[in-house]
Amino acid sequence: MPDPQRELRFPHRHLLGIEGLSPLDIAILLDLADEAVEVSRQVEKKRSTLRGRTLINLFFEASTRTQSSFELAGKRLGADVMNMSVASSSVKKGETLIDTAMTLNAMRPDIIVVRHAQAGAVHLLAKKVDCAVVNAGDGAHEHPTQALLDALTIRRNKGKVAGLIVAICGDILHSRVARSNILLLSALGARVRAVGPSTLLPAGLKRMGIETFTDMKAGLRDADIVMMLRLQRERMQGGFIPSAREFFRFFGLDEAKLAFAKPDALVMHPGPMNRGVEIDSAVADGAHSRIREQVEMGVAVRMAVLEALAQHLPNG
């Protein structure tokens, strides 16, 4: 299939965030991901794009789904994948982030996928290593592959992103998923809303061009996409909201609130879900839900990202 865009290479060495990506960069990744979906649906899923390459998953924060998604993506592209859960290793012995990075760098990996609890930690690490770096989530800052997989899911279901009304709901304050999605979906021309109690809406959203709502019904009105965020249990103790039951009553997505969105609205959630807190089981498992599809798109998007970055590797 001759596609003029494919002639354009993804111009970045790292994927540290959505910030800095042009709509064209994003389109390149989503197009690659579309192809990766086809690859993943075949019996023979293996490609040789990354054969001989080493991919290190460096997770300073525990993760099951993101880490396994990257692992699978790397393996499908033929890379050697090593998982490092740093939570239980040298960091505990006092090694600094930069020392860990230098140590790993000496092992000559080609791509490092990093998750860290501190915003900006992945950027710091990227400056200290020679290989490509992918941000798999840094604090409440960015989680670019999640936003890409969300956009892919939307684009495949709706045929476009531009012009859609996307309501991102719940704990925006602590969410890196929300920040990356706000940047990405706005860049592609969607109208992004943030919906949640004021205590969970960060300052300055309006200046970022985001409409904010503290009432779910108003925030969901005519939405094409309802994107729920995970309410982290520790936030309930932290005094941001009174209780899980009150949160569910006023901000949890149930059939009644979903009825305010467009009849063909899609329900999304980055997982893992708290059923009965931010989302009702009937909605999570209902006809509008694309939550399981998101997981499939996650592997495809990560394959696309690895492939795009591989173009910049030495001899790539």
């Binding site: 004021s198 205590t199 503290t214 005094g239 909201i241 009174p242 209780s243 039951r245 009150e246």
Partner: protein, 449 residues
């Protein structure tokens, strides 16, 4: 609308649908009706518990033939009083007060709506407690009782209470009662969250650390009495913080009690900036000062403490100008055992539901305040802040009305007060303006002799 009116069952149910007309009255109170009726005498026609008509046109001559007519003999008829701060004892402090006794006192004092304090035992921080209060008020109350609910869970000042669920259950405002929230971050979050629900936050501003062991106003009197003092800044510092948080969050903020000129400056600034900030003063701080404590009278031990006379005058002036919005009774029944103690060990608080109107009329007869403004601060302004339809002489408003002669003298006899506790600072005081009649929803809930 406030639910919970036992009056319907206890009084005159047989004539519930008979129109009632109060005629030959001097009408005082807010009304969107013609201003002309203020000049002469007029009346109020009540049908089905609502005001059907009010003004000079309501006279004996032109009433429905089956209407019951009450000639008021030139007495004042005004909307019933709305008291935004009273402790009603239930649940958990029934030895001090019950809804039955508090509302009996209220009816006798012309108070037709009470906003009940949430710092009860247990506190009103669960929807089920709001429901309990509404049912108790319906079954045992003579006047309307509107619950306020806790702003933070358990009044601990740590986590936001379930404001949404409590509001749905019927809580009209959110407050930690006599507790002042120490942690600004907690208050900020609570106010942000309250703003989402358009809920009214009522806060008692006191820096507990600065107030320390103080038991009366800091100054010469405290020094002479050998008592430790509470500086005015204990109130002002917290109020200033609160007003800044109101600006940050956009929440509707009501200062439960202001007692000093320092606080008035802060309120004036907030109002000038257009913030949704209102405040109340207690009838005690308007009509008494620290010297009334005299020989260690514990019935005048209040929190915040009574201030100096020049401060009292500033409060009255601020009330007259509208800077202070509301007068509250700060009704706080305390039994003899907790008051018959050395001053510093005695509990704070005074009862006030039954005497707030008469005490307020002292300011009118001394020329410090107009009757119109006094009534407005006890009716229309609290109704506006609480978003109640009462407090006005408007067609369609609930017929919560009182009749009184502002000049009729009497002496306060504690034994005859209806509250379970008799800790009135006005015992044996000469007063003017006893309530002769109180109506709630058009029904008579109190009739004086």
């Amino acid at each position: 609308m406030v639910e919970g009116r036992g009056a319907k069952m206890m009084f005159s149910s047989a004539i519930a649908h008979q129109p009632l007309a109060l005629v030959n009255a001097r009408l005082v109170g807010a009304s969107s009706l013609s201003a002309e009726w203020r000049r002469g005498r007029g009346g109020v026609l009540i049908v089905d518990g609502l005001i059907r008509d009010a003004g000079p046109g309501v006279a004996q001559a032109n009433l429905p033939s089956h209407a019951r007519i009450l000639d008021c003999g030139g007495d004042v008829v005004s909307p019933g009083l709305i008291d935004m701060r009273a402790f009603v004892g239930e649940p958990g402090a029934e030895h001090r007060e019950t809804i039955a006794s508090a509302t009996a006192a209220a009816a006798a004092g012309g108070v037709t709506t009470i906003l009940a304090r949430p710092d009860t035992f247990p506190p009103v921080d669960e929807a089920s407690v709001v429901d309990f209060l509404l049912r108790r008020a319906r079954d045992t109350g003579r006047v309307r009782v509107a619950p306020s609910a806790a702003l933070t869970q358990g009044l601990r000042g740590e986590e936001i209470a379930e404001i949404g669920l409590l509001q749905q259950a019927g809580a009209l405002a959110f407050s930690d009662g006599a507790h002042s929230i120490r942690n600004a971050r907690v208050l900020r979050r609570a106010m942000s969250y309250a703003r989402d629900f358009d809920a009214l936050v009522i806060h008692y501003a006191e820096d507990r650390d600065l107030a320390g062991e103080g038991v009366m106003n800091e100054g010469e009197f405290a020094t002479r009495l050998g008592l430790s003092g509470v500086p005015r800044e204990a109130e002002a510092i917290v109020l200033d913080r609160d007003v800044r948080l109101a600006a940050l969050t956009g929440a509707r903020y009501h200062a439960a009690l202001v007692t000093t000129s320092l606080s008035l400056e802060i309120i004036a600034r907030a109002k000038a900036a257009g913030l949704p900030v209102t405040c109340a003063v207690s009838i005690n701080h308007l009509t008494l000062n620290e010297s009334d404590i005299g020989d260690y009278r514990t019935f005048l031990k209040l929190s915040p403490p009574l201030r100096r006379e020049d401060e009292r005058r500033e409060l009255v002036a601020a009330l007259a100008s509208g800077l202070i919005d509301v007068i509250v009774s700060d009704h706080n029944p305390q039994d003899v055992e907790t008051k018959r103690l050395p001053f510093a060990e005695a509990e704070d608080g005074a009862i006030g539901l039954e005497t707030m109107l008469s005490a307020g009329l002292r300011l009118v007869s001394s020329g410090e305040l107009t009757l119109d403004r006094l009534i407005e601060a006890m009716t229309l302004r609290p109704a506006e802040i609480l978003r109640l339809p009462q407090g006005r002489l408007d067609v369609g408003a609930p017929a919560d009305l009182i009749r009184f002669d502002p000049e009729e003298p009497y002496v306060v006899d504690p034994a005859k007060l209806h509250s379970r506790c008799k800790n009135t600072p006005f015992d044996e005081a000469r007063m003017e303006g006893r309530v002769k009649l109180t109506l709630v929803g058009g029904e008579i809930v109190y009739e004086g002799e």
